[in-house]
């Protein structure tokens, strides 16, 4: 272990030296530092490296426009190496040593939970760009990814509708950790509320990186042969998806028979799969690369030029990073300073265009408004949008479906100023509750 840690520190050090070297020309003192806290090694590197590049691109763009408040932006990249305790250490390093004005980072919920106390203690600002399980609102964190009511619930509604196939029987399959467990808890409560009997819901969890899906896919097939239209709602994370989809294809489960709607599978994840057997399986997101919109076309062009790869794909967490970054820039302009307290206050109510043709707004609960899109996988690894919400959906921090959160609301404006305000008892619960 010792050697492992040593090498990892070595790599991080090398990374730091490199990033220091690139920014050496910017004069010290009159730059605004932007922290990037995404894993560049370890299991999550597959997803997070891309987001680091997006933020670097946005910083470069902003500098071309003349920077911010007359100063250049200076990115500070650290590598928490998919190691949750290291996330907290690196966050502390960014805030205390580097004195960054804002941090863009984290992917998994456990990494976000591990840095929360640090941001609270040192009064930093974190933009979190990934869809998550909700049930949280923290003063120092801005959630630009989807809350469950902006992804999971609309997806289920779609499948219940005539166009979605009138699904009556549900498999909730997920990787065994906090996001799938909480999302499935919300979904199960929602389905029961909608009158789906308990025996028509099957819940299945698998370990991280699960690669042998034979019996689980066979189980799904078995569950699906009860004479009712069946669908799979998948919160399977990361690497485990590829063998899962391969097995679906192998066992001949077509989207026509048992559609799978996924919340963690986007264009990047499909890059390693032959999608022809998967045509018709679904994903619910707030952004797809295939959305035809001038802002999106422009973004894709810049991104492919930045990465020097004309085939590089874009995905939903990237859009969330873009929205977060632009909101922060607007808020700093509005506040005229990078002082955290002032920026946090200024952020609420900031509106910036998203990449699907709408205007997203930062709400008092630190979540944003987004459209919900349902896409079907196409043969070329892209998604064809088959359904979208008529307008933008405001993100709800607390699920109204679960009993222990239905009375809670988050509002970081005066006079409430609380992340978990109990509307029945009429008081702020504060840190005591999760």
């Amino acid at each position: 272990m010792k050697l492992g840690t040593l090498m990892r520190t070595g790599l991080v050090a090398a990374g730091l030296v490199a990033s220091a070297a690139t920014s050496a020309f910017a004069q010290a003192g009159d730059t605004i530092k932007v922290g990037i806290l995404h894993s560049l090694s370890g299991t999550m590197a597959i997803s997070e490296t891309t987001l680091k590049d997006v933020v670097l691109m946005l910083v470069e763009e902003q500098n071309k426009k003349g920077g911010l408040l007359g100063k250049k932006l200076e990115p500070v990249v650290v590598d928490p190496a998919s190691n949750w305790p290291l996330f907290a250490e690196k966050a502390r390093e960014l805030l205390q040593k580097e004195k960054v004005a804002v941090v863009f980072g984290c992917w998994t919920s456990v990494s976000r939970k591990s840095v929360l106390p640090v941001f609270e203690e040192l009064n930093g600002i974190l933009f979190y760009p990934v869809q998550y399980e909700g049930q949280e609102s923290q003063r120092n964190v801005f959630y630009t990814g989807a809350a469950p009511n902006q992804q999971a619930i609309p997806a289920v509604d779609y499948l219940m509708s005539k166009d979605g196939g009138n699904v009556k029987r549900w498999v909730l399959a997920g990787t065994d950790y906090v996001y799938p467990r909480t999302t499935n808890k919300i979904l199960e409560a929602y389905l029961l509320q909608k009158g789906v009997p308990k025996e028509d819901i099957m819940i299945n969890y698998t370990p991280f990186g699960h690669s042998d899906w034979q019996s689980i896919v066979a189980d799904i097939k078995k569950f699906g042969s009860a004479g009712k239209k069946t669908a799979v709602v998948s919160t399977i994370n990361g690497d485990a998806n590829v063998p899962f989809y391969k097995e679906l294809g192998n066992q001949g489960i077509k989207a026509k028979d048992i559609p799978v709607v996924a919340f963690s599978v986007g264009e990047e994840e499909l890059a390693g799969v032959d999608t022809k057997p998967l045509v018709g399986h679904l994903a619910a997101w707030n952004y797809f690369q295939s959305v035809k919109d001038p802002a999106n076309a422009e973004f894709i062009k810049t991104w492919q030029a930045f990465t020097k790869n004309p085939k590089r794909v874009t995905n939903d967490p990237m859009e969330a990073s873009v929205i977060g970054f632009r909101m922060w820039v607007e808020a700093v302009k509005k506040a005229g300073t990078t002082d955290p307290d002032k920026v946090i206050d200024a952020l609420i109510g900031i509106k910036v265009p998203n990449l699907t043709g709408g205007i997203s707004e930062m709400l008092p609960n630190h979540h944003i408004t987004k459209p919900v899109l349902i896409g079907e996988i196409e043969g070329n690894g892209q998604f064809d949008v088959v359904w979208k919400t008529p307008g933008l959906v405001p993100g709800a921090a607390w699920s109204p479906i679960l009993d222990d959160s239905k009375n809670l609301k988050a509002d970081w404006t005066k006079p409430v100023n609380c992340g978990n305000f109990d509307t029945v008892a009429n008081k702020c619960i504060g840190k005591a509750a999760k």
Binding site: G42, I46, N204, Y205, G224, V242, A271, E376, V386
Partner: protein, 537 residues
Amino acid sequence: MLFLRSVSVLLSVLASLALAGAALAADLATLVGNLTSGGLSEREGAITALAASGDERAVPILEALGAGQLYIRNSDKLAVIGTVDGNKLALTEAVSGKPAGSADEADLERVRVNNRLRGTIEAAVGSLTLMSPNSRTRLSAADALFKRRDATALAALDQALTVEKDPRIKRAMSEARAAIVLATAESSPAQKLAAIALVRERGDRDSLGILKTVAAASDGEVKTAAAAAAESIEQSLAAWQMAQNVWYGISLGSVLLLAAIGLAITFGTMGVINMAHGEMVMLGAYTTFVVQEVIRTSAPHLFDVSLVIALPLAFLVSGAIGILIERTIIRFLYGRPLDTLLATWGLSLVLQQAVRSIFGSSNREVGAPSWMSGAFQLGQLNITYGRLWIVVFALIVFASLILLLRKTPLGLYMRAVTQNRPMASAVGIRTPRVDALTFGLGSGIAGLAGVALSQIDNVSPNLGQGYIIDSFMVVVFGGVGNLFGTLIGALTLGVVNKFLEPYAGAVLGKILVLVFIILFIQRRPRGLFALKGRSVE
């Protein structure tokens, strides 16, 4: 005179034929026009209308629609079918089937479908192709109708049944007919009972679904018959499920065997705790990726043999890197297991990060050659070709390794060195060279495993990490230093895992297996097949 008359008759017949043809074509054109205009629900109506027209020329149009290849050309609003041809799409007119040049995807508007429409299209194509001269098409048409149970196809099915000669297709058609009868509310109880008997004989999961729906939706005699039929199918399926679990277990076991067999050599016979073993597997998988990339760009016709080409290359790449590691690091650490553990662990991180820098952190696509895709049905057992080949491959690798160790001079030296190093050295065996070759062999076999695993897992820098713990479990369980132990260990763990999974779930199943091994090691510290003799002391 007679001659003239017959000519005029012939002419008029021809003319009327041409007229009828024109009318049909016009019909098709309007129907296709309806298909490409309006929203999704109008499209559904248009598909059903096309199916009802019975016009076989609609089949390619519907198939193109289902495959997302039906477009409207922006310039003249003509419905065209586009197939990929280089960077452009080669177009044919949908109605007439004439070539219509080529175009960029941007100049065309695709006619969109969703899952529900794909189902409708499947049924429509099914009812239109029931009379096709091609027997395979007829069979898949019957299967599609069985799945969709589209009542409008009943007439077409009845007609097809009267002329069908092939007993297999006839059977599939009557099953489809039975399924439709059961799905139609107006069918009489007698019809339904006959249909239930037919569906019961089919006996697969789809039939079970149909029977359960019927049992839930009807009453009286039909309900009891359907429930009884569903019951009997469930019983026979339960037996098949046992067989299926065994097969899944063997398949998982063969993957474990492949991953562990290289380790059985480096750890089992040399005693090196090689934490970088998983990365050798990963390198093998990346070699496959590189081979396929080269083939895709320069010789696409060789794609089906890409894995065969990748095998020796993966063996050489991983083997060479293994020898390099042995010569530069491990040979200085023999007899110091803790140091080896740490050094190889660090090495595994270096290798992962190196691959990440070269190939990027995202997954790489490794395609399956045609002979490894798809599945076949053995009774009610669904066996995929990919898995079957991996089982076969694992056994071949195992057998060749045994032969190598037993029948070649190199194998003899290896066994001599592992059993008694000073003595082997004394009789003139160059032990350092044998060490390097043994380590290279173990690593090379890991590379071979990588080629196979690239077919079922993601090719990413983390590929190896997922297998390292399992590999050690297999080797320790099977008995360190014994290849047959590894074989039995891998298969046992695979089967046990697959039998636990349905009851305990994947997470708990894994934990239970781990607990089982720990307890087992308490009873038999040397594993299933312990090496006997002084060498182990």
